[in-house]
Structures are given as C-alpha cells and as structure tokens.
C-alpha cells in the first residue's frame, strides 16, 4: 500500500548540492592541475587552470551558501570542527583553496612575487587541497551510509577524486591549452572507469541486502541515466583511451578528435555520476 512520506521529504539534498558536487570537482581538479603545473614550470597551463577555477569556485560557494537554510550562520563552520564530519573538512578545504587561488591570481597579475620556496609550498598545498576538495563530496555520501546504502562503498571518494581530475583535465583539453593534457585526461578517465567498475561490482555482489535493494532502486528509477552515464561517461572514454594507447597512430586529426571526445564524455560522466548517485541514494 502507499504510505505518505513524513514531512513531505523524498529528497533532502536537491540539485544545488549535486551542482556543488560537480563544481567542487572541477575546482579541485583545476587547482590540483594548477599546483602541479607550477611545480613543473608549465606556467601557461597553471594560469589557465587558475583563471578557470576561480569563477567556478565563486559560483560553487554561492550555490552552496544559497542552499543553506540559515546562511547567515555559516561562520559556525569555521568556529567548530568535527573530525567525523566530511562537511567540516570540505568547508575548510574550500576556504583554503580560495586563498591559494587568490594568491596564484595575485602572482599572475604581478601584485605579489612568490619565491621559489614559497611557490613550492603553495603548489604542494594546492595538490593536497585538490585531494581534499575532490574526495570530500564522496566522503559526504559515504558518511551517510546508514541512511544511504548505495553510497556505502569506500571506493566512492577515490572515484570522485579521479573523475574530478578527468573532468578538470577534460575542460582544459577543450581549451587547447597544453598538448600533454590529453594523456592526463585519457589516463584519469581510464582509472576513474576502473574504480567505477570496482564500485559497481561491490554494489552488485559484495553489499548487504540494504545495498542490493538500493541498487535495485537505482536501476528501477534511474536506469536510463545510470546506463547512459556509465556507457558514455566512463565506458567509452576508457575504450577510447585503450585505443589511443595501443594504436600508436600518428594521425593528428584522429588523436585530436579522440582526446576531445574523451574530454567531453568525461565531463558528461562526472556530472552524471554525481547527480545520479546523490538523487538515487536519497530516494531509497
């Protein structure tokens, strides 16, 4: 029989949170790439990555803040810290990422000059923050596993992190900013697909009854978008990456098309997986 839902709640975190997952993934990936690029003296790539990350970060923080029902009390996030709360880690990581991004921009525009030592420290910090920002959204879902069995896999956080790097790399690939980024995108896309495969197998065969019920709910209610995301967003990039690595083709146009396709599909996959897991995970 039909049962009414208490307090009219079916989904608690709606599209703004899913959008935050996507935007923070892009920011984390871009800042990580910027930090790494500065360490290996790829200044143009670092500059484009930082310039792209900054507006996305502003929009991301705005979306996140607007989703709070008591936004004016958001300062409490920084007056208290709970080790077990992924949002605590995430809010500090986003704050520090904002600071690193501003420092990079100030350096690019000549307002400050960073010594080699300072640059190295900040760049390694950017890489560390990138890991924190890209993994915390996955950890947010996993920490709610009592109510969200679909997210009970420890592979979710690393999968989100690698997928974030593939998304950020894909975005930069579309800007044609650096030739070597193609190889990064293809590699990250393949690794993300491999981790997703592990996650998927875990859901199918390794989970408890609650996990399997949650997976059935996912397939029943979000099956089309789930399979589209898996197929186009993860499977196809992985196949194209394998083709690229094994074919040793010298045809530049083919390589260009292939890497652009992987970039677009990786972006699609990154967006899709975050929306589907968030919505399907809560709907159960």
């Amino acid at each position: 029989m039909e049962i009414e839902v208490a307090n009219n709640l079916t989904h608690i975190w709606e599209w703004p949170v899913a959008l935050h997952f996507v935007l923070s993934a892009l920011v984390g990936g871009l800042v990580g790439i910027a930090g790494f690029s500065r360490l290996v003296d790829k200044d143009r790539l670092a500059r484009v990555a930082t310039l792209t990350a900054f507006p996305i970060l502003i929009i991301d923080l705005l979306v996140l803040w607007l989703d709070l029902t008591r936004g004016l009390r958001a300062f409490w996030l920084f007056l208290s810290f709970r080790v077990t709360a992924a949002i605590s880690w995430g809010s500090w990581a986003l704050l520090l990422t904002s600071i690193v991004t501003v420092i990079y921009l100030a350096d690019f525009y000549g307002y400050i000059e960073l010594s080699q030592m300072t640059n190295n420290v900040i760049s390694w910090s950017a890489i560390g923050l990138s890991i924190a920002v890209t993994t915390y959204t996955g950890a947010m879902l996993t920490s709610s596993m009592a109510a969200m069995p679909l997210a009970s896999s420890m592979l979710l956080a690393p999968m989100f992190a690698v997928s974030a790097l593939a998304m950020a790399g894909g975005l930069l690939e579309l800007f044609n900013v650096e030739r070597n980024i193609s190889a990064w995108v293809l590699t990250f896309a393949s690794v993300a697909s491999a981790i997703l495969f592990g996650f998927y197998i875990g859901e199918l065969y390794g989970g408890t009854l609650a996990v399997r019920e949650a997976y059935n709910h996912l397939i029943h209610n979000y099956g089309f978008i789930w399979w589209l995301t898996i197929g186009l967003g993860f499977g196809l990039p992985a196949l194209l990456a394998v083709f690229w690595m094994t074919s040793q083709t010298q045809r530049k146009k083919l390589i260009c098309c292939l890497t652009k396709a992987v970039a677009i599909f990786s972006l699609f996959g990154g967006v899709g997986i975050r929306f589907v897991l968030l919505m399907a995970g809560q709907g159960h």
């Binding site: 029989m1 208490a6 608690i12 029902t69 709970r82 077990t84 709360a85 949002i87 709610s144 609650a210």
Partner: protein, 187 residues
Amino acid sequence: MSRYGLAVDLKKCVGCKACVVGCKAENEVPESVFRLTTHEIEKGSFPHVETEFRHDQCRHCENAPCISVCPTKASYKDEKGFVRIDFSKCIGCKACMVACPYDARFINPEGGYADKCTYCIHRVNEGKDPACVNTCPTGARIFGDLDDPNSDIRGELRGNQVAVPQEEAGTDPKFFYLNKKLAEVNV
C-alpha cells in the same frame, strides 16, 4: 546516570494518532511538519489482511549518525543520552537529515533549523513522561530509564517480543517495537 528509551507496543496501538497531536501541541510544532508520525502498513488480501502501525520519530540512537556528520557541532548528545540540537549553531546544511535512516529530522519552516523529537526533555526534567506517552489512550507507548531495572520500560522489554527498527543500520536506537508482526517497509 539515566539512559532513557521509548517502546511502542504494536499490539496495543490502535492508530488514533493522539501521540502525533499531543506532540504537536506540546512542542508547538509548525504546520506541515511533524516530530512524530504514524503510518499504517497492510499485508495480505481480504479476508487474510494484517495491519500494523509504524511510528517515525527520533530514536535517540547510541551511535547517532546525525551527530557525527554535523559540521558545526549543533547536534550533540547530552548527559542523559538524548540527541539534541543547539539551534543557534545549526546552519541548515541538512547533512543530519540525509544521514538519519529514520527520516526523523526536518527543517523547521519558521526558524530554518533542523528540528526533531526531543523525547520532551523539558517534561522529563520535571519528572513527567513525554507528551506522546501521556496522551496515548491505550498505554501503547512506554518511556523510561533503560538502566533502571525497576522501570516500566525494562519490564515491558523483558516480557514481550522486542524489535529494533532498521537494526541493520547499526545506529543502536533507544526506541523499540514490542510485539511486531509485519516486516519493515521502505517509505
């Protein structure tokens, strides 16, 4: 130190929702939201139909996931084991609502903060039972100190078939069903 819990005897519950109304009136819960709800579930078909009621409210869990995910420490456990919310610290991120396997929390439409059942702590501090227990006409709701061997709830837990809601969630709730016949259903 006391450790309070609540049990609902499903054999005695007639689904009158007096507990829901009592809770709403006592705690001045705004329109459209509830700290406590009841749902009727049915199994079988005529003439072999079985019905039973489910009560959704905060279970004041020992391993409360709502506390561990709260980034501002607005959710906490007090010295009596009640899971409570410091409304002044709540930012409305809804992480506690997502983490709760019992859908016990909601956003208070008047204040914007996360809200839920408190086991009427203001009444318990005065030595009274929670409003839902006090209102129940059939005595289906039993409240008391789980650590007190002479309390009513300990006696009922000893003498009846006991079920813990969604035990697999691993939250160790201080809320029990007595004489439950039908399996849980997903809402």
